[in-house]
Amino acid sequence: MNNEEKGTGSEFWIKDCALAILATGRRAQTLRELRDSIRDIHPGSIYHHFWGALLRPQFSDREFNNDFASWCYHSLHDSVVAERLAMIDPADYSDMEALRQELIGIIEERLDETEVVSVAKPDQQFHFARSVIVVFDTHRRLYHPRELVEAVPQMSAGTIFYHFIDARRREPIGVDDFRAWLMGLGPGYQPLCDAIAEIDPYFESLYTLRDRLTEVFARFLTNAPLTPPKPVGKPASGERGATRRQSRAGEGS
């Protein structure tokens, strides 16, 4: 989206997204096979197994923040490598290749220290998938942060995913779109940004995340004046809200 295309300067453009999941046909039954496939699997598959899980069926509290860790724990019964893999924060990595190398490093470390090869049951193999993310405009705009109090509870899971999860890897600064917008509106929103930062995005369903964001926005913004704030300085990414920032086209997502 062209920065100058629409908007007057400080509005937040609400977008939504939906995932189509694609099978890759690649499977793993042992830790070694998992490592071998991770070496050359499509980068979109690594994205999918870290982030896509949030748009798939799950109950609120997830035990592991990525599919690799979960499979090692539940199907290989190797809690050591599962715990190590679960500590990876994907937002720490600049691109999928860096994240891929980290995964391989952790798995190789575990392969070096174990003599017994764990094998998953045939019907519990790891299936590598990847996803196509379709992003679309809801045609809704927010002109003041206080509008978040009413808007967030009505957002779809796809909208929460796009603005709160996907933004972390979409944008170079690695934060969600809500904080990116608020940071651009002045230092007065710093306490709110800090409260948003405390919400761990990887362990809860998108609906629970929506509830938490709703609670935080209500706590900080219910009595905020409705005068549209002016953007200050040159924010890292929030001046025009989410759509100001470009996705990194061409990079394997």
Binding site: A18, G25, A129, V135, F136, T138, A249
Partner: protein
Amino acid sequence: MDQSSSGGSLLDRYVEPAGPDAVAQLRQLAELLAGIKVVHVNSTRTGGGVAEILEAIVPLMQDLGLDTRWEVIEGSEDFFTCTKSFHNALQGKSLEIPSSFLRCYEQTNAGNAERLRTVLEEADIVIVHDPQPAPLITHCPNRRGKWIWRCHIDLSHPYRPVWKYLREFLTQYDASIFSLDAFAQPMPHPVFLIPPSIDPLSEKNIPLDAETVQRTLAEFGIDRERPILLQVSRFDRFKDPLGVIQAYRLATRFIPGLQLVLAGGGAADDPEGEVVLRDVRAAAEGDPDIHVLSSGHYSDRTINALQTGADIVLQKSLREGFGLTVTEAMWKAKPVIGGNTGGIRLQLMNHRTGFLVDTPEGAALRIRYLLADRRRMKEIGQNARELVRQNFLITRHLREYLTVMVSLLHGTQDRIELG
């Protein structure tokens, strides 16, 4: 903000069960596809899971502004005998299919193509369900749209000669859709994964009043005042009805008032089913609290009433596809104890939405655990309903169809930004 927007449409009826956000999202996604021509093709208008899904999805697609048609191919008895054999072979049964049947299969599709060619060639998206109409694509050389093969069958271990024969037709498609990754086969085109769903407004799933439930239970001599376990499934060894009886017996040592309902039926044309049913009756003999309901076909409303009236629903399968009976029970806020297999694993999370078990002993333990703490049982049931609301309703199924269509029409790159 009114996300459900206009009143009175079919889609509006899904606002209550699925949520206004889900319905609004469907409308926005469908705007990207407004006016496109979509044709679904299968082999029956009534009966079976595919027709059930199309009955719900086709009107919803029309309501969303997609010019959607549902076409059904016609065939002789030999044709359907042949496709029934395909079905069994694709699920792993080794059987040879006579070449006369294969000729009939191909000729039937050629005949249907004559009738449907114009509609199919003009469509933007054609979704062909299961193997019966698969060869239609070979008779539509001037097709302008994208053709998708939607497989509702578990293809994880197909009988190879039959798969090899059918694959020749299927590789001509632009994409395939399977229900689970474990069910998929490698293809030379994109293979999408879309789990099945239930329709919350169907007879099987609409909320029933207490009187209807009570009347149904009374009709079968089931006492509503005592705990009820229920398993709804064919009398098939893979559904492990004998294991369910064993679990019930183990649990009755601690809960003497327990009742078990095994509702199946339709075994008359299935010799193996007859044997299983006989074994089940023998195992249940002498216990008036085991109700084996097998006398023919039960209406969707009857099954709904049994599920609504049960305290715990079991689906102790040893092998299972997706397990939509699990989804149906969860939608009725029932805790489900299911076999640790297939799609049941996607739906049941221990202590949260139900329990996965590997043995009759495991099932008995979970029955005791749940009945000992009614408050916990209710909580798990509510969680189960919420999981289904978020993930397994037809609105999600429809959203994924729309997403697949958008991605095929815009090229399946990783990220498509529109609007």
